[in-house]
């Protein structure tokens, strides 16, 4: 079948001799090789690292992810550089503002105060800018604490299974049975005095069962998966299977959930303020407290006190939700192409 070279003019025993010249063969050969390389790259996407890289590539192509990430980046930048951006000290009461405060007036924009005054004669714009810091702080810590406890419980339940799993899951059942805000209200109420940390802890604890369930579910699914079975068959130690194989894979789902939780945490903190269970420190500027407390209290007098922090909360919550959803979509194997 294979005749390496054909001399021109050699009598043709078969029509096979009318093969294309070398040039054409190599051209086709090259094309095939390039194609194979492409295929190899595609099938190499089975390892953990390239799987993530793959997800990142899909993320970059998703406009929702870009919008979300941009919002979050701006939010974090404002929080970091708040002292440089803000025109005034957020806690200073300005005489030219306080003098114009009365029961039914809160001064609006004026020279040097682009958004006007808050209910105590402070610069609203500066408080909004500094508010990003506290809001980020509350959101991140509430999420991280909830995540840490939840992941620990979930990992224990998922790794051990059996009665440990059973007990831990009944505990999360109980926590899930309580409406989130009601649980947070109770927790704040039970502390003798509310403070910024009671708010953070309450919101964090509400999220514990969510993370615990998520991690456990993901780990249980992996216990049966081929790569864990293979590791077990190879005699890899149980601890290292859990730490090296199961946890890292489960964490992607947890990170996605954490991103989504951040927006919920910020909104929940605002709700607690609205119910009078928020951070009692009037000096500290935090969007949730600004909206939930003075914002609604003076809604009839000057609704802008509510509008601005509300807008800030909505935009940031939207940013985290967009990014989180896009991440979930990118990591979903169903969408892999």
């Amino acid at each position: 079948m294979t005749e390496p070279t054909t001399q021109a003019g050699t009598p043709a025993p078969r029509r096979k001799d009318e093969r294309p010249d070398r040039g054409n063969v190599t051209r086709l050969g090259d094309r095939k090789k390039a194609r194979l390389e492409e295929l190899a790259q595609a099938s190499a996407g089975k390892g953990g690292v390239s799987l993530l890289r793959d997800a990142l590539r899909r993320l970059r192509r998703n406009p929702a992810a870009i919008v979300g990430a941009t919002i979050i980046a701006l939010f974090v930048l404002v929080a970091i550089f708040a002292p440089l951006i803000a025109p005034h000290d957020p806690v200073q009461r300005f005489d030219e503002l306080t003098s114009r405060l009365s029961a039914d007036t809160i001064p609006g924009p004026s020279d040097g105060f682009p958004l006007g005054s808050d209910e105590l004669g402070r610069d609203l714009l500066s408080r909004l800018i500094y508010g990003s810091r506290q809001t980020l702080f509350v959101g991140v810590f509430a999420t991280l604490i909830g995540l840490a406890i939840g992941v620990l419980l979930g990992a224990i339940a998922g790794a051990f299974g059996g009665w440990v799993d059973n007990i831990l899951m009944r505990v999360t059942d109980v926590m899930l049975a309580l409406p989130a805000l009601l649980l947070a209200i109770t927790l704040v109420a039970l502390a003798s005095r509310s403070s910024q940390w009671t708010v953070i802890l309450a919101v964090a604890i509400v999220n514990v069962p969510v993370f615990a369930r998520l991690l456990r579910g993901s780990m249980l699914a992996q216990r049966e998966s081929d790569h864990v079975l293979a590791a077990r068959a190879l005699g890899v130690k149980k601890r290292s299977i859990v730490l090296r194989h199961m946890l890292p894979n489960a964490m992607t789902a947890v990170i996605v959930q954490a991103t989504l939780t951040l927006s919920v945490a910020i909104i929940e903190a605002a709700s607690l303020s609205f119910l009078g269970l928020g951070d009692p420190d009037r000096d500290r500027a935090e969007w949730g407290a600004m909206l939930g407390d003075a914002g609604v209290r003076y809604f009839e007098v000057r609704p802008e006190l509510a509008y601005y922090p509300a807008l800030a909360i909505i935009v940031v919550a939207l940013g985290f939700t967009l990014l989180g959803e896009a991440m979930r979509e990118a990591l979903d194997p169903k969408n892999r192409r």
Binding site: R15, K16, E18, P20, N24, L28, R31, K32, R35
Partner: protein, 328 residues
Amino acid sequence: MSLLDVRDLSVVFQRRGERPFTAVDKVSFTVEPGQTVGLVGESGCGKSVTSLAIMGLLPKRGNKVTGEVLFEGTDLLKLRPDDMRDRRGRDIGMIFQDPLSSLNPVIPIGVQVAEVLERHQGRERKQALREARELLDAVGIPDPDRRLKEYPHQISGGMRQRALIAIALACKPRLLIADEPTTALDVTIQAQILTLLKQLVDDTGTALIMITHDLGVVAGLCDTVNVLYGGKVVERARRHELFGQPRHPYTHGLLNSVPRLDSIRGERLHAIRGSVADNIPWTEGCAFAPRCDNVVDACLEGPPPLEPTATGGDLRCNNPVSEEVAVP
């Protein structure tokens, strides 16, 4: 007049932001009443898309269908959607590949058969269920009274495919399209389903388009075979000619890659090298050229035409397999 006359059928998929992809490229073939016609090729050759285009089941957006699909003289592609809806299930029935996912999991088998009769023959539910029972019986489902009330997950894979056949044949359509009806089944069940199909086709006089990658299925069933490659018909022949004298190198390769019981021991099975992924676009030459043992210069200069052969078939090849090498 042919029962079905497909002329220059093309399907181009065009998603936003992506290059258009021609899945079916000017495919023409005919089906005579009562005839069984095979559409054969590897996955991705356009055979399933062809069948969906005939049925009008391609997604509404993201594709462009051109050409003509004449069913008893009426161009199905020009019908209003509601008129096409009236014909589907009544004039043309279809069987799909995966019987489990093709049946609705939350509805009893009986209702899934009966609803076609209610829709096209105006039967009341009770009467339709009685007829459904007969149909299940006719396709060889044991204890049909019980099966009527059961759900897809409660019956075996073979029975599910039988139920789907009952659905497709409920209104005695003149044309049945079977898209890889045995691929998802166990080998022993495959033979039973094929036998059943053959028997039903013979009994009812329904024409059948058999879509498959499995030449074994074609060998037992089809009168005429269309071999598709890269969205084009590359060879068309009557069954005996195709198996006796495959002319296209691709058909030849397909036949040689089928293991045979009567082959000489120690003889190697010939696989076609490469995969569909190696195709070059038809506009540049013959799509099969990169994988072809018979490739000649002309193959890379432009698409070879589909030309009639001496035995009454058609062939699209510059350098067909000669007769003496065909059968080893």
